[in-house]
């Protein structure tokens, strides 16, 4: 028995963890490999421009029991469709471009002199990344993570297609609101709308707070 709030938070937290790590990873790969970044960037940005229903459709095809991946997962006893895991994957896919784009923009704006001098001073690529580039980019990483979290929390289209609308199992807040309005229960719908707006405002305030911290630190 899970309330839509708990389910939504569960989906958003887990997907944000993956989005953050994988988004940073892809941003760094694209940042380093100039020759491939046109195609890679297009693919990574695609979920941002495609309608969530299209993403949901692709995910359904990818994880359906007829697909190879679906069969392998089924064999391993993992089910994604009509499952909270499906909702997490949907949230991850739609929020990945937000993280990736935010962090990539920051990496690109890091003063080249910092990166190039580090290299000539013998600093290895991993130290350069973990001790210099990543710490200087912390604000963008947090901003990207908070925005991804908010996007995951509000995800609806792809989620309903892959995870369905099963109360206490896959019914997240946004799907709950949809169901309530469908059944004419505006009173409860208002409550969930209120909850969603409150959470979103809190997160936006957090972003504003973070991005104003150390504004004078002069990080370039």
């Amino acid at each position: 028995m899970h309330s839509p709030l708990i389910l939504s938070l569960q989906v958003a937290i887990i997907s944000t963890i993956f989005t953050t790590i994988i988004g940073i990873f892809f941003a760094y790969v694209v940042f380093r490999k100039n020759n491939m970044n046109g195609i890679a960037d297009a693919i990574l940005t695609l979920p941002m421009v495609l309608p969530p229903t299209v993403i949901g459709f692709f995910l359904l095809e990818l994880f359906s029991y007829n697909s190879i991946l679906g069969r392998v997962l089924n064999f391993l006893g993992i089910s994604v469709i009509f499952n909270i895991k499906g909702a997490i994957i949907a949230a991850f896919i739609v929020s990945l471009p937000i993280m990736y784009k935010t962090v990539l923009a920051r990496f690109i704006s890091v003063n080249q002199e910092i990166i190039l001098s580090a290299r000539t001073l013998g600093i290895t690529e991993s130290v350069l990344f973990f001790k210099i580039i990543l710490p200087i980019s912390y604000k963008s990483i947090i901003t990207g993570a908070v925005l991804s979290f908010a996007r995951s929390l509000g995800e609806f289209g792809a989620t309903i297609m892959i995870a369905g609308n099963i109360p206490h199992k896959t019914q997240t807040m946004s799907i709950r609101i949809y169901s309530l309005i469908q059944s004419g229960n505006y009173k409860e719908a208002y409550i969930w709308v209120g909850v969603m707006i409150s959470i979103s405002i809190v997160f936006m305030l957090i972003i504003n707070k973070i991005t104003s911290i150390g504004e004078n630190a002069g990080y370039k």
Partner: protein, 307 residues
Amino acid sequence: MNLKINIKKQTPNFIISINIVTNTGIVGILGKSGSGKSLFLKCLAGLEPFDKGEIILDNKILYNDKINLPPQKRNIAYMFQNYGLFPNMTVKKNIQICAKVKNIDQIISMCRLNHLLNIYPNKLSGGEQQRVAIARILASKPKVILLDEPFSALDVGLRRNIEFDMIRLLSKFEGIVFIVSHDKDELYRFAQDIMIIDNGNIVETGKKDKIYKNPAHIQTAKLVGYDNIISAKLLNKNPNKRICIKSEDIKINESGKNAAVVIECIEDINNNIVYIQCNEEIIRVTDKKYYNKEQQVTFDLLNFIII
């Protein structure tokens, strides 16, 4: 220490083609803006690819047809115009993270950074930032140091003091230093050898006194302060040759051998700048006196070279 460089690189405007062998000491690279000086340093450090060539440092191949060592493995440290200090680290951490020497304390005190160790780079003055950049470089134990316009980010008034620091620190360095600048006087104070680059090619290279006092090429003469390059016809010599004269080596006097007319006189702090016309040539002269436009004058050349 011995460094052999042979680099060829096609750029949109010209081909960089540099082939030199250099030993321990400070080499000044002089050239006008966009002559390929900085690009040459970047190729050397492994920050910029080039088409073909060879770089050998103390019998170790850094680059050839098969080998291309990353910048990390070249032992060539590059100091950028704005120093590239790590903004998320204190002065001490900036030095520590690059350190290959056991004891950084000596470097810290040599660079007079003891009182700044826990400060972040954005709170340092330009001169202090530069000392951190040098400390970081010395701590990384390079064999070659590349300085790209090291004073361009500093106020003119500060440069002299900071230059003194830098000369003192570099004089203790037992490797090769390349310093790029378009300021001839600055380079003269730093370097023992000078390399003149124009359009990606070495025009002339040699001991600084030879280059500054007896340049063999017009481009060199222009860069080291011969601001008048005029036809040798003036002295009834081979008209295909050029006379190179510094403006301070021309004396306007009453009994001069050459006649000219003043076309402009610009007031300056110490000496006024007088432009005079003699035959078809416009000559720049510095003089204490003020001359009126179209005034007839005579002048002598005190010191000049013919190329």
